[in-house]
Each structure stands twice: as C-alpha cells, then as structure tokens.
Symmetry: C2
Subunit: 415 residues, 2 copies
C-alpha cells in the first residue's frame, strides 16, 4: 500500500528531482497547473534584466543585430526542435498558437488546391478540440469564400470515417486540453495520408509533456505553445513547424516583412524567404520571446524519455491514490488509463467540480476547472514530486470529506 | 546666429526637459533613433521584475485574473487612446502592426462588400508605404480570391486621382517612415469618404510623435506601433483602433478565442465579442505587453501639444544647423520644411549615406539608414535636448569634413 513514506522514497530515487531547484515556486503551493501556465525558471529574472537593462537600455536599436534579436525566432526554434522530433531550420517561435494555426491551415489548403482531382474543401477537426483552433479554422474557411467548411467530429471513434475524399486537412490537438486523451500520432497520420489529406498537429499540450517525433510520424505541419509545459512565461510566443519537404510549397497570407526574402531591401512586392522564415509575419515581442530560452535550457539537462517515465509514474500514482482514498465520492476519471493514450494531466469530473477546485486552490493545490464539471490536474515532471501528489490527494480528500466547498461560488477559468 | 550656448538656453527653458530623467540612456550617446526603437523608461525594469517574480513566479496561473493579465490589451488601450484621439473602449494593444493591419483591412473589405452598388475590390496605398503594410495587403488580397487587388500609387500628388469607384479602402501610413512626410489626415480622409471608400491609417510613426485625432478626422480604422515613439520596448505589441460606430460591423478572420464573446464557455462555434474585444485573436505575450505601460505613463505628465511644439523646434533647429554648418556637403533634405507636413524625424540623402551613418553611430550619434541613400534622424521630445541637436550636427560636420567614413562598408539596417 502506498504511503507518504513510499512517495518520499520515490522522490529520493527520482533522477529529475534536482531540476525542481531550477524553478521558483511559492511556498505552500502544490502546482498542478503547468499544463496551463508553466512555473518560472529561476533564470528568467536575470535574463529579463539583461534584455531590458543592457540590450534595450544600452544597446538600443543596435541590439537587433548585436544581441541577436532578429534571430531569436529561429535560434530558439532550433533549440526547441529536439523536443518534438524536428530538425534545425524547421521551427520558429513566433506569434500566438492561434495565428500559427491560421498560417499552417492556410498553407495546407493551398497545397491541396494545387493537387489534381476533385477539389478538397473540408477541414476536419474534433468538436472537443480547444475552441480557438476551431474558431481560427472557421475564420479562415469563411473568409476564403471558395466553399471551404469545417467538419466537427463528435468522437475519436468517428474520426477515421470523417476523413473522406473532400478532406483537405485534418487538424487535431495531439493531447486534448480537457481530457488528456493522446492521439496516436503515427496511426492517425497514416490514415489521413491514405485518404489523401494533410495532417496538422496542435502540440499545445504535448511539447515538453510527452515524447513527440513529428518527422518519424511523417506529419505535415504542427504548431504549439511555449507557456505550458515548456515554461516560457505568460503568453510567450508560440511555435510553428514546417518540415523541410513542405517548405518550398508553404505559402501563408500573413505575409509580413519578417517573412520576406530580403526584409531590408524594402521592396514593394512580397517574395517569401527560403526555409522556415516564411512562417514569420511581423516584429516579435523581444522580452517575452527571449524568456522562452530559460524554459528550454532546463530540458537540455534531461530528455523526454525520462520526463515521460516520471510523468506516467506521477499520473498513475495520482489516479491510484484518488481512487483508493476518495473512492466514496462521485469522482469520474476522464483521462485514459492506457499509458499510450494519456498525456501529462489527469482529469476527474465531480458534480461540483468548480467549487471543489476553488476549495483546493484556497488550500494551495492549484489545478483548474473546465466545463463541464471537469477538474484538471497537470503533472510536470520537472518540478512536481511524488510527495506533492500524495499531499494533493490528501487535501482533495479533506475537501471532499468535509464538503469544504461553496457550491454557490461564481465561475471563471483560465487556460 | 545659433550657438551651443543658445541651445543650452533653450534646454533651460524647455518644460519637457525634466522628463529626460525618466529614461535610461547610455552615456556618450545621442539617440536619434526613437522613431525605430524608443528608449527605455527607467520604470521598465521594476515592472518586469514585478511581472516575472511576483505575478508569474508567485501568482502563477491565478495572475490571469488577480494581476489583470486578461485585461491588459483593453486597459493599456484605454491609456493610449487620448494620444490618438480615440475614446475608451476603442483601442486594444495586441499582436503586431502587420497582424492588426490584416484584421483592419479584412474588416474594411467586408464592410464594403455589404454596400450596394458596384463591387469595390481595390486597396489603394502608396508604393512608398512601409513594405509590411503592402505585403499584408497583398497577402490578404491574393488569398481572398474574389478579384481583390492592391493599387500602388507613386506619389502623394497622384493619390487623389487613384481613389475611384473601385476603391474599397485607402490604407496609408500617416507619417512616412523614410521621408517623414505627414499626410493631412482630415483632408485625405474627407476625399476618401467622398469617393465612397474607407480610410485606414497606420500610425506607426505618429502615435506619441505628432498630435493625432482619429475621431475628429472621421477616420474609419487605424493601427500602430508601441515600440517607437511610445517607448514600449523592443517588439512590444501593437495597437488597433476601431471607432464605436464601426464596431458592430467589424469582423475579421483572425478570430481566436480572445475575440470570442465568451472565451471560457469553450463553445465550438465562434461568436465575436461586443466592442473592441473582437479585434483580439490569441493569448498575448504578457511580459512585453505589461512593459508598454511604462512608456505610456510618461506621456501622462505632458500632452501632445507640448511634445509637438518641441518636436518642431528640434527638427527646425536640426535642419537649420545642418544646412548652415554642413552646407558644402552633398546633403539633400527629404523631409518637408512645412510644419504641417512634417513628422518628428528629419531625413537627408547623401551619396554615401550608409557609410556616413555608420561613422556617426561609431561616434555615438545613433540614427539609421534607409535605401536609397537616406539618413534618418528621429527626434523624440521626451528625451532629446537642443544641445543634443547641436552636438549631433557638430559630429556630422566633423565626419563629413574629415571624410571619416568607410564607403566600402557593408550594409544592414533595422526599422
């Protein structure tokens, strides 16, 4: 039987345990919301000071070149690449996930428009996808006015059948933000390709959370987020991946001067840069962008296999303890038990999920809530310990046993 | 005759002189490139520390609400509004200028598509506009595939005639980035409306530089930059203005979840927010965004009339001194002498402009260079003194008299 002592022993053997010291976490908090906003790397403050005081304050305009500000999207993209199975020169960190999705979708539709055969005018995605992905697809489809539509699929089981000869591109979030369900990237992609469609992955809840190998899975395009498991800072710029084989045919309408082949020629006609640079648009928020590096540096001290092993151990432990110690309460596991289908979060429903989560946060266990009735707990192996899991479940048990939650509390939530 | 002593006397009488202490500028530098990247407000470092250490590090996910991160685009937009003649609730600070231009152009085209009469499918702009504006318009027009085109006008004189019954929207940068030419916002806008078109202004070189009154000028839409005269920090998020009268009909394709009426309802169908919120898209880079406030705060200690009076005095002085003291050198004034047509910069051509500017920078006078042969000098009344102008001209004179520049130097430039 698991006890807190057992958890402490697991921590003592945990090869990732020393990395917790790389993060600044407030005392008295068990932070299980790194799937929404990652914790602060301790180096972030010094890096911000360097960018603001020295690079901006002293270097001024010269820092675009001397401090390498122009190169940040590519340089940091190269540093992120190994975490998602990308090659150098295939990723840039830039803009928001929503915007990068728009670029990727637009490019995919154009690639398909060039193909022979019947016009493919359907974007397939899941109704349960994170809403902004759906909204961006709807925005693009309705504005193109060539009969493009977005097809929302109601379940994972219905997905294969929904990918037909009309389908131009399948856009899926690899790990679902609400349930933690993880698609089989290679298998889904293979089916999509067999139907003649392109495969676009949103890695918002995957990058830094689970092993991803985009090139091995033969994916076509991907986007993702740096402020969740990558610990890049609040609202830090997102990323977009375009594999080498698609770069020459990648064209997107957000063709700002940073995506131009020669931005400082100031030519009045657009010509896209060679390579991944064409996925950029306009000037980037340098301070926020530079801080992404502080999060990426920590990953270079370990690897995704070690992170995944601990992630599964943490989520297994959490599921086991909740079911063993809170079993009399109406909690429903939403996240797959099967390792291969699980991301790095665990979600439970509870009829008063919002109120229970509010009570947990009040007691220092920070997870979050998503409609309908879902309590989300994110597990970030870089800074979450096995003892944290034990303590979080004990606090959950106390809140539930004591009914120490206010059912009438008003609602609000944050991704 | 003007002497350095006269300049020092002007500084002694300058009501804006005390504001220089609000900025961090390196010793030995005369910074005449605030039109490209504004100087660092001294408060920026403390604000960054607060956001990173306290709001991110301690508040973690809770800071989206408790630290007001979600409200930053609107709250800072309201603070910027008085500088451009906007009302509260008409401006958000978000994304890049390029992206905001895309949203505004798309919305303008749709507003025109609803109008009766012949289809208006032409976007009119100047060939001399900042390239990213042209690229974004070209990107939008080519992707809409309804026959939209971008018409490039070769001179200010040809502009009125180019606005015809096919013209949907006129998109102009109010103050030209290269020449410093300032359009007559009210007169141009009035002509545009008389032709049945909409008027979209790019205020990148106007906001914080010259008085702007968008509502008084009956403008339709506007975008602009916070990292130039507004001193918001490198690559800080840009702004977009949608007047109240157009908000209900403002629809744009970059419809991410931040532009949704109820982002946390997580509904699978997009419904735009009421008001200016519909001009947002995805999650914003909080650290960079928060620093914009440090620049805006300084403007609240003065007003645009005082800034304009000093700006004209500085640019008059610079033109007079260069012509008086460097008159034997082949310098050509590109910027209008007429006050009403001048922004807050002065541009001179020189056959070896790039090399001369490099030599100036080497000696601590930081301006920049733009093809063809143009040396740009930006004058930012908040931190530039009359003695700075004198000293800069003396250094320019020395560089020219001594031919102390390397004609063979390689080229590079930054906006």
């Amino acid at each position: 039987m698991t006890t807190r002592t057992v958890c402490l022993a697991l921590d003592a053997q945990d090869p990732l345990a020393p990395l917790r010291a790389r993060f600044d976490l407030p005392p008295g908090v068990i932070y299980l919301d790194g799937n929404s906003l990652g914790a602060r790397p301790k180096t972030a403050l010094a890096r911000a000071t360097e960018v603001i005081a020295r690079e901006w304050g002293e270097g001024l305009i010269r820092s675009w070149n001397t401090a390498g500000w122009f190169d940040l999207p590519k340089r940091l993209g190269d540093r992120l690449a190994p975490l998602i199975g990308a090659r150098a020169g295939e990723v840039v960190i830039t803009d928001s996930t929503s915007l990068n999705l728009f670029k990727a979708l637009a490019a995919a539709l154009e690639m398909q428009a060039d193909h022979p055969g019947a016009p493919r005018r359907v974007i397939v995605t899941e109704r349960a996808n994170f809403p902004t992905d759906i909204y961006m697809a709807q925005g693009l489809a309705s504005w193109l006015a060539r009969g493009y539509t977005v097809r929302l699929v109601d379940s994972v089981e219905e997905l294969p059948g929904a990918i037909d000869a009309d389908c131009a591109v399948v856009m899926l979030t690899h790990v679902n933000y609400r349930t933690g369900y993880q698609h089989d990237m290679a298998a889904v992609g293979s089916h999509v390709h067999a139907q003649g469609a392109l495969m676009l992955w949103d890695l918002a809840h995957s990058a830094g959370a689970v092993p991803v190998d985009l090139n091995a899975a033969d994916a076509d395009l991907a986007v993702g987020c740096t402020y969740k498991y990558l610990n890049g800072g609040p609202g830090a710029p997102a990323f977009i991946w375009v594999p080498e084989r698609h770069q020459a045919s990648f064209h997107q309408p957000l063709s700002g001067w940073w995506s131009h082949a020669a931005p400082f020629a100031m030519a009045p006609a657009f010509a896209p840069a060679d390579g991944i640079g064409r996925a950029l648009c306009g000037t980037q928020p340098v301070v926020s962008l530079a801080l992404v590096e502080c999060g990426l540096e920590v990953f270079e001290e370990t690897d995704m296999a070690a992170i995944r092993a601990k992630s599964l151990a943490l989520t297994d432990l959490f599921i086991d303890l909740v079911e063993a110690r809170c079993g009399e309460h109406p909690l429903g596991l939403v996240t797959p038990r099967e390792h291969e289908r699980r991301g790095s979060q665990v979600s439970f429903t509870h009829p008063h999920g919002y109120a229970v989560m509010a009570a947990l946060i009040e007691r220092g266990v920070i997870g979050d809530y998503r409609e309908p009735a879902i309590m989300r707990f994110g597990f970030t192996p870089l800074y979450t310990s096995f003892a944290d899991v034990w303590d979080a479940v004990e606090i959950l048990r106390a809140v539930l046993d004591e009914q120490a939650y206010d059912i009438a509390a008003s609602r609000g939530a944050v991704t």
